[in-house]
């Protein structure tokens, strides 16, 4: 056990690369092809645009990773994003201090997430259904409070500039926010018991519960985090546009789920992680930017986007399968820990990412 654990620890970076190699490979291949065919892509101004364009879906997708790792899903993030943006715009118009308005908007996201979490963990309703219902209701709340119209507000403050349009050290503010959120996500999922518990719940909720994981609490927390991320994305969107729109979320839920899945996190839960999601979100932004630069027609863009998603997921699935078979191999060598390999994350040799 100890020798194996040491080897694993030593090659942590290598393993992480191996686990994500397909996504990274696709990313690199795309980059190489682009170098050849679309040199305009690598102009700094364009790269900054892409970074900016990936940020909002990226933030939502990091939150979504927490939920999907537990084997759940959150369809309500787009509505939550809109509600949070609308809340912020209206509170600022009512004369409230911008920081307080932002905090209340983020809390709106947390509350939406808590409701989802309670529905899933305590009322035991399927995540798809709970979040489908909240998706509809939350959109209704946004439309109700705005009478269906976008809410313009003054976004000239420093904080909005940072969250929306500004640059820090030459990097777009929203992209920095995305990177910070991603870093927090990666650290939480990798190094905190909370993160490890989420993997355990995704592997087998019952086994996790039997080995003492407070599954309900953890699930509620995962959805709350997802809601918080969606709320943050709403604040970012509104800061960028100086408008809180009740229908702003659009298809953010599907884009975020796509980013998570092409980042190698399984919809079945238990495997994957936040680093893959970062690449997933970047891949989506790069893809749409590239197609615009290449002048691909709007109809063809949709066809290509769908095909790329399928390919990326196929590759990601293969990588996951390999990871699982690796882990089985390791588990066979360790009969004592094989039984609850997924249940107790600390005893799991092939710790995912």
């Amino acid at each position: 056990m100890s020798s194996l654990a040491t080897t694993k620890r030593q090659s942590a970076l290598g393993r992480r690369l191996r686990n994500n190699w397909i996504t990274i490979l696709i990313f690199l291949v795309v980059v190489a092809a682009v170098l050849l065919f679309v040199p305009a892509f690598f102009q700094p101004a364009n790269l900054i645009n892409v970074a900016r364009q990936s940020s909002i879906i990226g933030v939502v997708a990091i939150g979504m990773t927490f939920v999907i790792l537990t084997g759940g899903i959150d369809l309500s993030v787009g509505s939550t994003l809109a509600l949070s943006g609308v809340t912020m715009a209206m509170l600022i118009n009512s004369g409230l201090d911008s920081t307080v308005a932002i905090i209340i908007s983020l809390l709106t996201g947390v509350v939406a997430g808590l409701i989802n979490g309670i529905g899933v963990a305590i009322l035991k309703i399927q995540p798809f259904i709970v979040t489908l219902a909240t998706m509809v209701s939350i959109l209704g709340i946004s439309l109700r409070v705005t009478n269906g119209g976008p809410q313009a507000f003054d976004n000239s403050g420093d904080i909005f500039n940072f969250l929306g349009s500004g640059d820090v050290f030459g990097l777009p503010g929203p992209f920095l926010v995305f990177l910070i959120v991603a870093a927090i996500g990666v650290l939480t999922l990798r190094y905190f018991s909370f993160g490890r518990y989420l993997y355990a719940i995704g592997g087998s909720s019952e086994a996790a519960r039997l080995s003492g994981v407070p599954t309900k609490k953890m699930l509620v927390a995962a959805y709350a985090i997802c809601g918080l991320a969606a709320g943050l994305a709403g604040v970012m969107t509104a800061s960028r546009l100086s408008v809180g729109g009740p229908t702003a979320g659009g298809l953010a839920n599907l884009d975020a789920i796509t980013a998570v899945v092409i980042g190698g996190t399984s919809l079945m839960g238990g495997t994957g992680g936040a680093i893959g999601t970062v690449f997933g979100a970047l891949l989506l932004a790069v893809l749409s930017n590239l197609m615009n630069l290449m002048g691909i027609g709007p109809f063809d863009q949709q066809i290509v986007k769908g095909a790329v998603i399928i390919l990326a997921v196929l590759f990601a699935m293969q990588a996951t399968r390999k990871r699982i078979s690796d882990r089985r191999g390791a588990a066979k060598a360790l009969p004592s820990s094989a039984e609850n390999a997924t249940a107790d994350p600390n005893a799991t040799p092939g710790v995912p990412q």
Binding site: A40, A45, N46, N49, R52, Q53, I56, L83, V86, T87, M90, L91, N93, S94, G95, I104, L107, T108, V111, A112, L114, I115, I118, I122, L139, I141, L143, R144, V145, T146, N147, G148, G149, P150, Q151, A152, S165, G212, V213, P214, K216, K217, V220, T237, R240, L241, V243, P246, T247, A248, G250, S288, N289, N292, L293, G295, G297, P298, F299, Q302
Partner: protein
């Protein structure tokens, strides 16, 4: 780490209560302050809007005394999740209350689903309405329900979007014509050097097709070129990011105009132009005429928009006419008004999307 069931229940109950309170608080504070969608300022006497030409006005002369109009009408809008639908569903009952105290109005929201809307129309008919104002989700899918209403003796007004059957009247402006007006203006402003990009609305939607075809008709005979068309789904955020990409592809000097299928996408495009420092080089031409677009025209960040007016006043007056047994022309068309810096002052505060 075990939590007893009892503790868990009380804990979750507390969270639910807190959640509900926070949401309610957010909702209340917001609704009390932010719902500043232009208060309706109309005269006590029924009158059509600024965008109803003299022909249109002559079609909407009510012979009966407003106080004598007594009947129940139903309003069936395709959806209220977009500003046009939301404003219309809100204004019609308000106008009716103000102008015709004897008119009872029931409003339904089709939630962007033709079958839901169809069921709602049946229900309105069953309730015994005399006049139906319908803006259909789909001109074919709502044909059945509207035919059933007509058969039951209900008079039908198609508002903004027509239904594919013989209704009493169809009131609205014309998406294709709005595109033509904008195209002719683009040809006039940009002249022979014109090279524009087109930000289209949602693919396959009928206004997108009409506004795109209209542009091409309007540009006929000029040498203005449409260098590319991309969709931004009528969405401001997408308008911004697609325009950023297009500015990257078309370096300074290669385009001098952008045509957007609605004002929301134009707002995104304007932001992209300003951030890239190319707002002086590229002119923005749009459709709709939101209040904010008028402000943008005034301050020079938008070159022109073409008004796509709401038809609430006209619909209510037509409903009153039908209630009183008067005849109404089969087609009442509102203007596609070109709004530029020269004439914008006339429309500020009375934008096509509110008035």
């Amino acid at each position: 780490m075990y939590i007893t069931k009892k503790r868990l229940t009380s804990w979750s109950a507390a969270v639910v209560v807190a959640a509900a309170l926070t949401l309610a608080a957010a909702g209340c504070s917001a609704s009390s302050t932010g719902a500043k969608s232009t208060p309706l300022e109309v005269g006590d006497k029924p009158a059509p809007s600024l965008y109803c030409s003299s022909t249109c006005q002559s079609q909407l002369v009510l012979k009966a005394a407003p106080a004598s109009v007594k009947c129940s009408i139903g309003v069936s809008w395709s959806a209220t999740s977009f500003p046009y639908g939301a404003t219309s569903s809100k204004q019609i009952p308000e106008l009716a209350k103000k102008w015709f105290p004897g008119m009872q109005v029931t409003v339904t929201d089709g939630q962007n689903d033709a079958s839901i809307q169809s069921g709602q129309v049946d229900q309105l008919v069953a309730q015994g309405i005399k006049v139906l104002i319908i803006s259909s989700r789909d001109s074919d899918a709502l044909k059945g329900a509207v035919d059933r209403a007509l058969k039951a003796g209900v008079r039908v007004i198609a508002a903004d979007r027509n239904v594919n059957t013989t209704v009493d009247t169809y009131i609205g402006s014309d998406n294709g014509e709005a595109g033509v007006v904008s195209g002719q203006n683009i040809a006039k402003v940009l002249g022979s050097s014109g090279k524009i990009v087109e930000l289209a609305g949602s693919l396959g939607a009928s206004p997108t097709i009409a506004r795109g075809d209209g542009l091409r008709t309007g540009l006929k005979g000029s040498s203005v070129k449409i260098v590319t068309t991309q969709t931004a789904d009528y969405d401001q955020a997408k308008g911004l990011s697609v325009m950023q990409d297009l500015l990257q592809k078309y370096q300074p000097g290669s385009i001098n105009g952008v045509y957007t299928h609605n004002d929301q996408m134009a707002f995104g495009a304007i932001q992209a132009l300003k951030e890239a420092g190319r707002d002086k080089e590229i002119k923005v031409f749009s459709i709709d005429g939101e209040e904010k677009a008028l402000a943008d025209i005034k301050n020079g960040s938008m070159e022109a928009t073409v008004g796509y007016p709401i038809v609430t006043k006209e619909s209510v007056i037509a409903a009153a006419k039908l209630c009183s047994g008067e005849t109404v022309d089969k087609r009442i068309k509102l203007d596609s008004t070109l709004i530029t810096k020269q004439n914008v002052a006339k429309y500020v505060g009375k934008s096509p999307q509110d008035e």
